[in-house]
């Protein structure tokens, strides 16, 4: 079993707001992130897949295929977007780093067949990241 990690970056805007909360609760729980005009981040995404090395190619997965899936399923949908307004998963869910990592997993997992998805690691900034293993 070998693990392969591909790193990519995207930039997006978002805000945190729960319509079930009062304005005071939203401000208390989400702080500056509750500003409804939104703000943005440069996200760094690390996708790790795992599998046996194909003896003919020496690959766990064809990196070109992984890049194509990542671009099509994740980066095209998230890069330079407003997550709350343009990404369907976040019409009802708050686009926290946790929920974005889960949404990325759910987008990628069904599209991978040669290698299996092991981990999605999403950095919102260099000092903050979330790992999701599909648990």
């Amino acid at each position: 079993m070998v693990f392969l990690t591909r790193k990519s970056e995207f930039s997006a805007s978002h805000y945190y707001h729960n319509p079930d909360f009062t304005p005071e609760e939203n401000r208390r729980v989400f702080g500056k992130c509750s500003n409804l005009n939104g703000h943005g981040h440069n996200y760094t995404l690390e996708v790790t897949v795992k599998g046996d090395v194909d003896p003919k190619t020496g690959f766990v997965i064809d990196l070109k295929e992984l890049k194509d899936i990542l671009n099509r399923e994740v980066l095209d949908a998230l890069d330079h977007r407003h997550l709350n307004k343009e990404v369907p998963e976040f019409a009802l869910q708050i686009p926290t780093t946790e929920n974005i990592a889960i949404a990325i997993w759910q987008r990628l997992q069904p599209k991978l067949n040669v290698a299996r998805l092991h981990r999605v690691r999403l950095y919102e900034m260099p000092d903050l990241f979330v790992d999701y293993y599909g648990e």
Binding site: Y16, N18, V29, E98, I102, P126, L128, D131, Y132
Partner: protein, 142 residues
């Protein structure tokens, strides 16, 4: 759905690796330059990983402000710009980064209860890092 959240903090501190039970030669042999009598310092990077179910109402494992407040109060204010050897936490304990990781983990385990503490990872320099995720081993002097 369970997610793992990691937040990075920084402290600058000095230390000297020295065991009173060792002879001067054995201290030098064991700790090398780190045994120099007046100590030396590092910029430590401390990564704290917590885990838990993502709360449906907030989309979060835990409130980042609560984690920051706790780690800043319990770790950063306690150790930043200090000589680790002089802090009560290292009385009788050699302040290696292994031991610092254990000390930080044990303090946070007691003081942060809003999510499960998974792991503490400390970078002493860009080339050396140490992880502690709890365990049965008691803290000991080396």
């Amino acid at each position: 759905m369970k997610a793992y959240l990691t937040r990075r903090y920084r402290i600058a501190a000095s230390h000297r690796l020295h065991n009173d039970e060792f002879s001067a030669e054995r201290n030098r042999e064991t700790y090398g330059k780190c045994n120099n009598p007046h100590g030396h310092g590092h910029n430590y990077g401390i990564e704290v990983t917590v885990s838990g179910e993502v709360n449906r109402q907030t989309g979060m494992v835990c409130n980042l402000g609560d984690l920051d407040e706790c780690v800043n109060r319990e770790i950063v204010e306690r150790f930043d710009h200090e000589n680790l050897n002089d802090t009560p936490e290292f009385a009788g304990i050699v302040p290696t980064t292994e031991n610092l990781a254990e000390v930080v983990f044990n303090i946070l385990k007691r003081s942060f209860t809003a999510a499960h503490l998974e792991k503490v990872r400390i970078e002493e320099t860009a080339n050396n890092s140490f992880e502690y995720a709890g365990g049965a081993d008691a803290l000991r002097t080396r």
